[in-house]
């Protein structure tokens, strides 16, 4: 019965990216997640709908919130959760992703959550295993659960996404969060502004149906949501920017720049934050404007929904 329900509910076997989902898939996930918000706030946070299921977390890149969020989500649903420690695994001994996948597949997991530094790694994995694959971030390509939790946070505060003007600002070039959010927010009817210095703006990004700005004040004008991204210095081999100081001056979110957005504009950030580089530290902590903590909280609910819906 459960598997029959699943077949009707979600069109995809794997969650590799927002690009592959339909609007109905997205609404199904978001509605399911809403049910878990209250559960996560209650005293007994554990249910058993995934009892007997095995979830493997395969994180090739360091992660605090996403990995712990997926781990908690699985445990709260009653699944057996195993997080692979890449440092001590055969991958360090030169095993390829496909061989790792085959090995894990032989253990009959029901779901694999993967984060990898290479774009498309989850696609490759999904072709080689029998279970569902959830993408927890692949290179610069997609981070679907982050976009879904962002959407849930916005809906929680603004009731809808339809008709909102949303600015995504900062290191767009290296950001999978930006890409997933562009697809998702566009599908749900928002107008998306992209704000970045030219060196961090991906080629032809406007073809994804967004407005492009290199001037932050113009890009924030009348926005309902200001989504800040982390400057991914670890992915920058050569000089993209002159200095953090100059970046903050032109692209850091400060009260002065935020004034160009709507008065009730909300500030979001997928974390981890570089305070004083992409965002003013007081703004980040301003409980009237910043919903950064709420994002983390709703993240668990969204991942519970995804695990439930994609787990057979």
């Amino acid at each position: 019965m459960a598997s029959l329900k699943k077949a009707i509910k979600i069109s995809q076997k794997h969650l590799l990216g927002i690009q592959d989902l339909s609007i109905s898939d997205i609404n199904t996930i978001l509605n399911e997640a809403k049910n878990f918000i209250s559960l996560n706030k209650s005293k007994n946070k554990k249910i058993d709908i995934l009892r007997g299921k095995t979830q493997i977390n395969l994180f090739f890149e360091p992660s605090t919130r996403t990995q712990s969020s997926f781990e908690l989500a699985g445990k709260r649903l009653g699944a057996d959760v195993m997080s692979m420690n890449i440092k001590n695994s055969a991958i360090k001994k030169g095993e390829t992703l496909i061989d790792t996948a085959m090995t894990l597949n032989a253990m009959h997991p029901d779901i694999i959550v993967i984060r990898h530094q290479d774009s498309g790694a989850c696609n490759l994995l999904s072709q080689k295993v029998n279970c569902a694959v959830l993408n927890a971030g692949d290179g610069r390509r997609e981070h679907p659960t982050q976009a879904l939790l962002d959407a849930l946070t916005i809906i929680d505060r603004k009731n809808t996404i339809q008709g909102l003007r949303i600015a995504i600002c900062g290191d767009i070039l290296h950001s999978r969060v930006a890409r997933s959010n562009i697809y998702l927010l566009n599908m749900l009817g928002a107008e998306v502004n992209i704000v970045a210095p030219s060196n961090l703006m991906p080629k032809d990004i406007e073809k994804l149906g967004v407005n492009k700005f290199t001037n932050m004040k113009k890009g924030l004008k009348d926005c309902d949501i200001v989504m800040m991204l982390r400057l991914q210095n670890e992915r920058m081999s050569t000089s993209f920017l002159s200095s953090n100081r100059e970046y903050y001056e032109y692209y850091g979110l400060t009260p002065d720049k935020l004034n160009h957005a709507k008065e009730d504009a909300l500030i979001m950030h997928p974390g981890p934050m570089n305070r004083g580089i992409e965002i003013d530290t007081k703004l980040a902590d301003d409980i009237n404007k910043s919903v950064i903590k709420e994002q983390v909280e709703l993240g668990v609910a969204v991942r519970m929904a995804c695990l439930k819906l994609f787990c057979e």
Binding site: L124, K203, D204, L208
Partner: protein
Amino acid sequence: MMKKQYFLNAHIIDPKNLIDEIGGLIIDENGKIEAVGKKVNKNNIPSREKYIDLKSKYLFPGIVDMRVFVGEPGYEYKENFRTLSNAALSGGVTSAVTMPNTSPVIDNVSIVDFLKRRGRDKSKINIYPTASLTKNLEGKNMTEFGLLQNKGIIGFTDGIKTIQNTRLMSRIMRSAFDVGSLVMQHAEDYELAENGTVNDGIISTKLGLQGITDLAEKIIIDRDLSLLEDFNCRYHISQISSAKSIELINKRKNEVDFTTGVSINNLSLNENDIGDFRTFLKLSPPLRTEDDRVELIKGINKNLIDVIVSDHKPEDEESKRLTFTQAATGASGIETLLPLSLELFHNGSVKLSKIIELLTSNPAKILKINKGNLSIGNDADFCIVDIYKPWIVKKEKLISKSKNTSIENKKLQGKVLNTFIKGVELFKI
């Protein structure tokens, strides 16, 4: 000594001798061409002789493929001379220019002796080895162009690598000029192309891959053509991929002497074919936009491109079963070079005689070899082709040792029926 052979009623295309007609071919007892063309018919051959009626099938000079990677020495598990020859023959290729990117690199006289011997003993097709421009492909010290050439090296290239240093490039051109060597450049500015795997554009943005801008190619070509104004050696751009390069070549064609090649992949495919991270389509130069592809075809028709190559780069399964970023670059393609080129004829993009010119007489002319033609007295290297025969490319049916074709499952029209070298039939379908 072999028996004299007579082929009649073929549609013969021999661009060098301006033949494009129904006619025959006579091969003498030494495997040389005795007569060719419309004057060879049933009425003027001895009546007692047996002949083969080709029933209007096409007959082309053997193809000269100017860019071929063979795994010998060092990567025999990817391709050796024997497997390469068999793959080549099945595609009508009778002469191949091999790249120096082996292990060890072809950069000194002693390794050339080995290579020539292996090529002679194991290869059924004519092998024309190149040597590297710089020692160990490091882009620092020149190799001995003169001495290597005397040993039988046909030209010089760093293969998949580009000379980045402008001063070194100018010196290479001067030395090449002195001894009359052919320099072939793979044009890519490393700084601009750093870590890139696909064309820089909407596809790289969507797939989240580092892009390679078309400027990386144009800047090197522009630089080299500027240097060439002062040091004019025999210079060939190995492959171009973009409309920007065509535009530049169009501007400079009348000012400096140089020639240009293009991979059949860039003429037949575009970046959209990469789809969901298909690593067999990770190529260098990368597949670019449909507009770029169309401009390359126009470039052929405007005589801005001289040669079509297979860019045959065999890679084993293990090198391709990785994420797109980690996967090896290149596709196997020597056996599909002609059939895939014929697609340009079937879809009305390029005239058949033009395609054959870019596959036979033009490369031979650049290389200064007497191949790729059906001139009387020459070795009878040729292929017989049913240009309308439909077939589907299947990985497992490829003859090459490596199966990394860029056109798996593609429907093609045109298949080589027989391939001859020096009058001996070495391939039959």
